[in-house]
Symmetry: C2
Subunit: 413 residues, 2 copies
């Protein structure tokens, strides 16, 4: 039986595995995490709205009924193209077909020293760390006896005006303005300042310009200060330099950029500037038709330009890679990948969102309901959708956030 190895259990990898459920193949799914993550809601874990298990499910639980797949918790260290073998945690996994879907992580564009001061958001561990950081900032503000220091603890800078940055900035502003009121005695959390800084001319550059403008207005209504054309030039423990200005702040969140996981390089294949692997029409590696790259790691093109790094695109690529393998097994040629763009969604806060479906564009409350229903719909398959709904209904009516638990040891003062 043909051996298929899939690296990465995100949307691309998991959808590829599922698409091979009835195929006469032996699949090994390798991931360094034990769970599939519903990444579009990761910002909710980071901002204490949802518990980590509500948006993650063990890969082996999801795939327990698919008997042709073995799940391995291991980190891939090398891919031997000539020997058609994946090496992970000291073990060797020979393959006839390989799907690499190990995704992206945040990148600091040569400023790796910023990582310690400005954590990014890609994994559950990132989200829990970010949650502990911003909750601890309010605690430090309360215990500080120096006005300038209190100010710095109450200043939050979100770097990057893409969907993640917009979601984080909007939610942080809501928490400061609504969730935490009455809980502190020495500070007024409503005086917290949330800045969203974006190097480009507008936030949400992938959306239509009028939606960017609407998101900008909706954010400012929530209390976020939005600065466009504002490249960050330095980040240190207590300050950020944005263009020519120094902002004294103790919490910086990085939502500005991603780079492909190191496996792109392990494939020894041509990559683009962000480290994404340049793939052929059918998502296979030029020269190695038995290797496919899917999801955010792949630099693929659709009719309207590059395929965006969003969950629906990753699912489509995963399914396509699986279909190509099925075609090859049947002796048919593989078809080229065609990306079907379904739209772009970004939520901003309670009743605030933007939705870009091409001709149909929504803003405000209507967009927010659209966003909510879409996400609940796509959470189906997760057992936690009911719990998520309860948490959201609770948050909507009361502004409470149920996961405001600092589990990491608190930072030194």
């Amino acid at each position: 039986m043909a051996r298929v190895v899939v690296v990465g259990g995100g949307f691309a990898g998991l959808w590829a595995v599922r698409a091979l459920a009835r195929a006469p193949v032996e699949i090994t799914l390798i991931d360094s995490c034990n769970h599939h993550l519903f990444q579009p809601l990761l910002y909710q874990v980071a901002t204490a709205g949802l518990a980590a298990p509500s948006i993650a499910a063990p890969l082996r639980h999801i795939l327990r009924r698919q008997r042709n797949v073995t799940v391995q918790l291991a980190t891939v260290s090398a891919i031997d193209r000539a020997g058609r073998t994946v090496i992970a945690a000291g073990a060797r996994y020979p393959y006839d077909y390989l799907i690499v879907a190990s995704g992206v992580s945040h990148a600091y564009f040569g400023h790796e020293d910023w990582a310690g001061h400005a954590p990014g958001l890609k994994t559950l561990a990132d989200a829990l760390h970010m949650r502990a950081r911003f909750l601890t900032a309010f605690e430090r503000a309360e215990s500080s006896r120096c006005a300038a220091e209190t100010r710095a603890w109450l200043t939050f800078v979100v770097v990057g005006g893409g969907p993640t940055g917009v979601e984080l900035a909007g939610t942080l502003a809501e928490i400061a303005r609504h969730t935490l009121t009455r809980e502190f005695r020495r500070i007024d959390p409503r005086t917290a300042q949330v800045l969203l800084v974006e190097a480009g001319a507008r936030i949400l550059p992938a959306f239509a310009p009028d939606l960017s403008a609407s998101a900008h207005r909706q954010l400012e209504r929530l209390g976020v200060t939005v600065r466009t054309n504002s490249p960050v030039t330095s980040i240190a423990a207590t300050e950020v330099r944005v263009a020519d200005e120094t902002i004294h702040c103790r919490t910086v969140i990085w939502a500005a950029g991603v780079a492909a996981s190191g496996l792109g390089r392990a494939l020894a294949a041509p990559v683009d500037r962000a480290g994404r692997v340049l793939v052929g029409d059918d998502l296979s590696l030029p020269g190695s038709p038995e290797i496919f790259v899917a999801g955010d790691l792949a630099a693929a093109s659709g009719r309207g330009g590059p395929v965006p790094g969003i969950a629906p695109a990753a699912k489509q690529m995963g399914v396509h890679a699986a279909a190509c393998i099925l075609a090859r097994l049947a002796g048919r040629p593989s078809a080229p990948f065609r990306y079907r763009h379904q739209g772009l969604l970004a939520t901003i806060g309670r009743g605030a969102a933007v939705v870009d479906l091409g001709r149909v564009r929504l803003t405000g409350l209507v967009a927010w309901w659209f966003w909510l229903l879409a996400h609940v719909y796509f959470l189906i398959g997760f057992r936690n959708r009911l719990v998520v709904l309860i948490d959201w209904a609770d948050a909507y009516w009361t502004y409470h956030r149920g996961a405001r638990i600092i589990v990491e040891p608190s930072q030194p003062p």
Copy 2:
């Protein structure tokens, strides 16, 4: 206004603060965690049944309406009895009355080197660590290619036959026998061995002897191997010595003993063998009537012997310490503490528990329903009781466990 400092936001400290809600005092509650923890369900977080936020709530959220209390997230480093000042995170908190309720942590009785191999369970961080450990053990068993190593990864030793040890052992056996079936391809999780080892003659020694015997039988029915009169003599990374036998195992859980937090020593007061502070009749420190010690940290006595280290006792002590302060403020003498014993409960697994209410003793399904209703009742006040109920109903019907997410980096193979 009189200044009251309370150290510790557990059951004793939080109940003391609440009992002072209408008193003309200025309260400062200092805790090194930002949350109150519903400790009786901590084993559920450790065994992936509940998400961490479901059993914890931020102290400042619980106390937001009580305007006479300021919550400080800080670790107390010293208590200056002569200067009547608590020192925490570099700041000084002068007091007229002090309640120390900083609880206990697990202790290894002079074998501190065991700590790395046999984690204990007192905090949420402990629970998340333990969860990652036992889930990772099954992953390692699946990827191991050596039969002896697989066996060791599938052997779990719980040290200590008190309520926590019984709960952990019973739940681990259930997970292996029911939750994880069908999810692995190379191992059968049902072959996992769970041992509960207890140095004394019977498990649950605080319960009536017939209940100990019932718990023993109920555990064995769930698949746990119970060994009494089996003191542990050494714990290393890959083996445990119990009496004269060597057990090869990779997962050891410590539920054998607790010692008072270091603050007992910081008070420079007489302590018992476990480091608990010897308090007077009214829970105050002999020679320092303005200092009270409450909860697990206090070595107090009731009519029937020492007061047990359980949540109801801690609440009663906290309320009593507050009442003593109110009496002193009113110029009245403080009353002696009288412990009202309400009973002992321990759950073992699905439909299995023991309840000791003195004359009334329950076992099996009836005891389990009693335990369930008591815990749901006492979770009231936590917003998460609905979420907990859903998780439990789900677990009861399907044996699923919703929080099977490994967030820590996985252990090296």
